[in-house]
Assembly symmetry: C4
Homo-oligomer: 215 residues x 4
C-alpha cells in the first residue's frame, strides 16, 4: 500500500500543485500573523485545474507550513499521496462540488467568529459598511448580507449536509460560521479568498463591538 | 486612445512622481501594519509641484503596493496614463483645489473611524489631549476640535459637494469621517499626513473607550 | 564551592542541553511577541533524557534569552552550574516528579490569566470550543475542562504543595493559574507545551470576553 | 552664539554620549512597537557620568530616531550643542536633581496612561500583582503602590514644581502620570527604566480592564 501511494505521489504532484501549495503556505503566514489560527487550528485548500485539490494535512501549525504539509486529494476527498488530510476535508469538497468557480477555501479559527457564534446564535447580519464592497458581487455599502451559523458537529458528513441543505433552502452564501469553531470562506483564487476573509473578520469585529460582547 | 495614453505615460512620469509614489508605498506598509486598510480598502495620494497628482489605482491591497499601483491624474481627476484611479478620486481633487498647501491625502478604513461614525453620528469632539499638539496649528492640550461625520454615498461628486458645503459653512477642518467607511486626513507632505493620521486614530480610539462602544 | 560548580558546568552541559536551551529561547521569542512575558516575568524549563532540567535563570527578559540565560538543575532543583534559577523552580520540579511524560513546562504572565484569576476566583471552566481539541487527550468540542486557580504565595514550596494536594484530590489537570500572576502549562515537548499555551490563552480570552471583564 | 555652540558640540560629545544615544534609539524602537509613542509624542533621556544629559530633540518620531535626534543639555536644561530639546525637558532635569541614582527617564504617551488619568483622576493604586516585583525595591505581590496623576499644564516649570511638592509631601514615587498625556518613569539605566515601563503599562491596562473603562 505504501509503495502504491509513493508511486501515486510521483505521478500526481506537478507544477500546479506546487504553485498552489506555495500560495497556501503564504496565506497561512498572513493568517497566523493576525492570530486567526492558534495552536494547530484551521485548514486551507485550493483546487487545481484538473479537479484535484491541494489541502493542508492534519495537525500542523498554519503559520509555518512547509510544502510537505500540503497534500493532494481527489474531488471525493480520497487522499492521492498517502497523507492524512484535515478531519474537515469533506466540508471543502462539498463546497467545491457546489461552486465550480471556487478554487480556494480558507477556514481559520479567529476569536471574532468564535465569539460571534456565541452572541448571534443563528446568523450575523452585515449592512451599511463600505468594506462590504470587498466581497464578490457587492457594489454599494447599502447592502445587507447574512453569514449563517451552524452548530458544531464532529460528524463532518452530517455537518456538510447541514450546510448543503441551508444553501438549497436559502440560496447562495459568501461564508459560514461553525459555532465555537470558526469561519469558512472561499473564492476564485487563494488571493480572493484571503481578501474576503480579511474583510469578513473586520466586519465581524465591528459587529461584536457594536452589539456588546465585552471585546 | 490607448496609444495616446501610452505616449502620455512616457511623457508624464518623472522624478517627482517616482519619489512620491515611493512615499505612498512606504506609508501604505505602515498603515497596513496597524490594520487600517483591510482587504483592498483605502486610497492615498500626493500632489506634485506641477499640480498633477499621484494616486493609488483601484483594487490593490495597500500594504503591498508596487510602483505600478500608483498612477497619475490631473487636477480634475482625469487619468494621464490610462490607468483606473480609485472610485473616490474626486474627494482627493476637491481637497487639493480648496487647500493649496496640502500635498498629501490619506484615506484608510480603520475600525476606530468606522465605529466612531456609528457611535457619534455627526461629529467627534476631541479635547484636553496632549496629543492634539501633533495636529497642525495646535499649541496646547486645552483645545477642542471637531471631526465631522458625513453619510456614506456611492455618488462621489455628491459626497465631495457635501464636504465642500460643510467647510464653507463651518470653516476649515483637519479631517473628516465618512460613516461606516473611514477617515480622510491631509497635510503638507505624506509624512505630515501620516503623523496626523496616527494621532487621530489614537484619539478616536480614546474616545471610543471613554464613550462606551464595547471596543 | 564556586570551583566545584565551575567544574560541574564543564561536565554537565552537552548536546541535549544545548538543543533544549535553543528551543526555550525560540519559545521565549514567540511568547514575548504575544505580550505574555512583560518586563522580566515568566520562566520556562525542559527536562533532559538523563533527568536533569534546563531552566531559565532569574531576572532576564524572556523575549531575548541567550544560551547563557538557561541553566541546569537536578530533579530536586539543585543548581548544577553555579547559576541562580528562577525563584519558582520548585513548581517546575514538582510537576516533573508527578508527570514522567512531561518534558517541558511554560509559565508566562499573560494578561488573560491575570484577569481571569480576578474574575473567576477558583477555576476557569472551558467547554464547547473546537480549539479544546488542541489540548492533549481531547477529541471533541463537546468537552468540559477546569483550570484551577491558586492564591499567589511567595513561599514556593507551600505553593507547590497546594498544587500537589489539589491534583491528589481532583485528579490530573492540564494547566493551572496562580492568581494575579500567570498560567502554568506543560507537555511532552517544548513544542507541545507551546501549542497548549497558545490554545489556552485564546480560550481564556474568549471566556473573559463572554463573562464581562472589560477587555 | 551658534559658533560657540558648534565648538561646544565638538568638545562635549564623546563615547558616553554615543553609547547612551544608541540605547535611547533602541528603546524608542521597542516603545513604538508597542504603540506607546503615536505621531511625534514622548521624550526620553539618559544622564552621563559627568552629569550632562542626553535627551531627545523636539518633534521627531520616537520609533525611528537617529543619532542626530539626541542632543546634550546640562543639569539645568541648557542646550550644549545648539539643538532644541523637548518642551518638557525641565521635568527630566527636576527628577535627575532629586534622584542621584537615576540615570534614565522615559516618557511615552500610551493609551493606558491617557485613559487611566480620565478614569482614576488623582492616583492609580496597584496591588496584589506578581508583576509588581518587576519594580525596584518590591519583593512580594502583597504590596500596594500609588502612581499619582497630575493635571496637564503647558507651563512646564509649574508642572515640575507640582511634582516636586507632591514628592516632598508624600515621599518617593516610582512613576507619575500627566492627565490626558502620559506616564513618566525612571531607573538606574535605560534598560531598567524600560522594564519598569513595560511592567507599569501592563498593570495600568489590568486596572482599566477591571475598573470598567471600555477598553
Amino acid at each position: 500500500m505504501a509503495g502504491i501511494q509513493l508511486t501515486q505521489t510521483h505521478m500526481t504532484y506537478h507544477t500546479d500543485f506546487f504553485a498552489l501549495a506555495e500560495q497556501l503556505i503564504t496565506a497561512g503566514r498572513f493568517i497566523d500573523s493576525k492570530g486567526w489560527v492558534p495552536a494547530t487550528s484551521g485548514n486551507f485548500s485550493a483546487r487545481l485545474p484538473n479537479g484535484t485539490i491541494a489541502i493542508t494535512v492534519s495537525g500542523k501549525h498554519k503559520g509555518c507550513l512547509q510544502q510537505d504539509d500540503i497534500m493532494l486529494i481527489d474531488a471525493d476527498a480520497i487522499p492521492l499521496d498517502g497523507k492524512t488530510p484535515s478531519a474537515e476535508t469533506e466540508l471543502h469538497t462539498a463546497l467545491y462540488k457546489r461552486y465550480p468557480d471556487v478554487h480556494a477555501i480558507l477556514h481559520p479559527h479567529s476569536m471574532t467568529a468564535t465569539l460571534a457564534s456565541r452572541l448571534f446564535k443563528t446568523e450575523v447580519i452585515l449592512q451599511d459598511y463600505e468594506l462590504l464592497k470587498a466581497l464578490p458581487g457587492i457594489k454599494t455599502h447599502d447592502t445587507c448580507i447574512s453569514i449563517p451559523i451552524f452548530a458544531n458537529d464532529q460528524n463532518i458528513p452530517r455537518l456538510a449536509a447541514q450546510v448543503d441543505n441551508y444553501i438549497d433552502q436559502h440560496g447562495d452564501i459568501l461564508a459560514y460560521i461553525i459555532a465555537g469553531h470558526g469561519l469558512y470562506t472561499w473564492g476564485h483564487s487563494v488571493q480572493h479568498a484571503l481578501r474576503y476573509l480579511e474583510a469578513l473578520d473586520f466586519l465581524l469585529l465591528c459587529e461584536l463591538h457594536l452589539h456588546g460582547v465585552k471585546l
